[in-house]
Amino acid sequence: MALPDMQSPSALQLGGPGDGAGTEDVEVALESLSQWQLAWRRFKLHRLAAVGLCIFGFMVLMAIFGPILDPYDPIFIPNAHVPGGDPPSLAHLFGTDDVGRDVFAMVVNGARISVTIGVFSMLIAGIVGVLVGAVAGYVGGLVDNVLMRIVDVFFAIPFLFVILVASRFFGQGQLIPLILIFGLLSWPLISRLVRAMFLSLREADFVEAARAVGVSDFRITFRHILPSALGPVIVAMTLIMASNIVLEAFVSFLGFGLTEDQTSWGNALSNAQTVLSQGNWWWAFFPGMAIALTVLAINFIGDGLRDALDPRSRL
């Protein structure tokens, strides 16, 4: 039976402890490329994943080209026509904020920040998590014990709160420190997963065979075991990307993230919160929807990847 914590799809799962993946549940054989082709075939059949891929692709395109094409500067302050901001109109599709800045421009520019944070923090978490998990699982013994106790501590941390404190004071409101913080705090989930799979795979026949032929440990780790363990890792990485995009919005929303002059979705929501009671919903609604849609799209993709790469898992 697979342990549910790995498979529970929550985007905010990272604070939870668990024992990594149910090792016996992992599809082991990936001897040739055809397995990946099979996975790709399964992935393409997943309708929700296709929808997710379209939405996320759109967000990425918007992040790259949007700010170039958009006529409005998200920081430029014209004069608001209506106190509290103009409702959506043809000139301003998503309305304007209380000082007349275009909300559509905020959404487009915010995409750039969210996608950047999501992708790069995911890569950092993936690399660190795989390295730590591989070392712990392959070397075992004392090294494994120490590394896993560190991971335990990470899992016991009230994650959202620590990330709040860390981003405010180490992040200094800048993008690159925030990416590093999110990445360096979200790897433990992956390392547990990788370790669990290494523990079972290092006893597998094909590894023993490789060892018998005299293949180096380094090559066994990265050439023989890792590819077999990659499926669930990729799924976990999509979850981490989704959760880190939400986290950025979360810390910025509470005023602990990016500085005010950067247009992130969280900042927009945070500023909009104060005037929401006056009835101008559009300022909060569109950035919020952008976050929700992006995360939804990534979760759809993750769902499809799970079905494709880990066909025996139950979710």
Binding site: M1, L3, P4, D5, S8, P9, S10, A11, L12, Q13, G15, G16, P17, G18, L48, R149, I150, D152, V153, A156, I157, P158, F159, L160, F161, V162, L164, V165, A166, R168, F169, F170, A242, V246, A249, F250, F253, L254, F256, L269, A272, Q273, L276, S277, G279, W281, A284, F285, G288, I291, A292, L293, V295, L296, N299, F300, D303, R314, L315
Partner: protein
Amino acid sequence: MLKYIVRRLILLIPILFGLSIFIIVLVHALPGDPCSSILGEHTSPDRLAACRHGLGLDKPLYQQYFDYMAGVFRGDLGTSATNRVSVVTSFLTRFPATIELSLAAMVVAIGVGVPLGIAAAKRQGSVFDNFATVASLIGISIPIFFLGLLLAYVFGVWLHWLPTLGRVNLRIYDFSHAGTNFLLWESLVINHNIPEFIDVVSHLILPAIALGTIPLAVVARITRSAVLEVLNEDYVRTARAKGLTSGRIDRRHVLRNAMLPIATVIGLQTGLLLGGAVLTETIFSWGGVGSWLFQAAVDKDFVVIQSGTLILATIFVLVNLTVDISYAYLNPRIRYS
């Protein structure tokens, strides 16, 4: 069983030690300290130094750590630098608010999530099943704070159906002399005041929905897959062949066996609620632990951040231990040793 519990509790100690070191290093690596927050920017270096000396912040870090831990072992978790209230006192007054909110959120999550998951599993592949799957993915994807704002706007600002701020209408009801901070309990059981109770409940609804949505979606998904798995088991077919009523099969055979993964997820999500509570509490001005820690972070109130985080982590680990123990009761095949 007892041995297992004791061993798990002993394992807790190194984790909490590691955590305390991590937190104190993190907190002290921050630029600034509580003194700069208390005294403001326009203060003399002398007063700043005096304040730092008063709080013991001028000692070396390891010394501060040992002093702090010595206090912890005596049961003294320190005193807030900003309002001079002991951390334990603040925590005890605020934790009931968070417990009430978290319990209400879990009631929403379990009360809706489990039936939804079962219904979806029994109609696998149907329109309803697909709808439930997509809906739960949407529920997982909506950030709590956005959902909270949305709910507050629609039901508070726009429709005026429900209050969106605080735990009770302070203009009408006064709980300042209540024995505990569990307002549901105080209003219903102690005061026997039904309108008061209804007011407390109405304040609870929107925050509970906001906080409960993600656990709801997760619980629904896990329930669906767990029930699906059990429905395909031989013993369910046997039970059906014996001619048992479907209600009895559901209760005695399906649900009982599907309960294990569901309980795991419920436990994990209960722990995670504490994190989500920070957001929900700030949006709905809920005077719980979340908003307390948030304020401590704003004020750089070192002691509150350290102790608050340690308390929360301990609770989180204990909740997980309880979940693990409850497995043995839910599934007699599991024996801990």
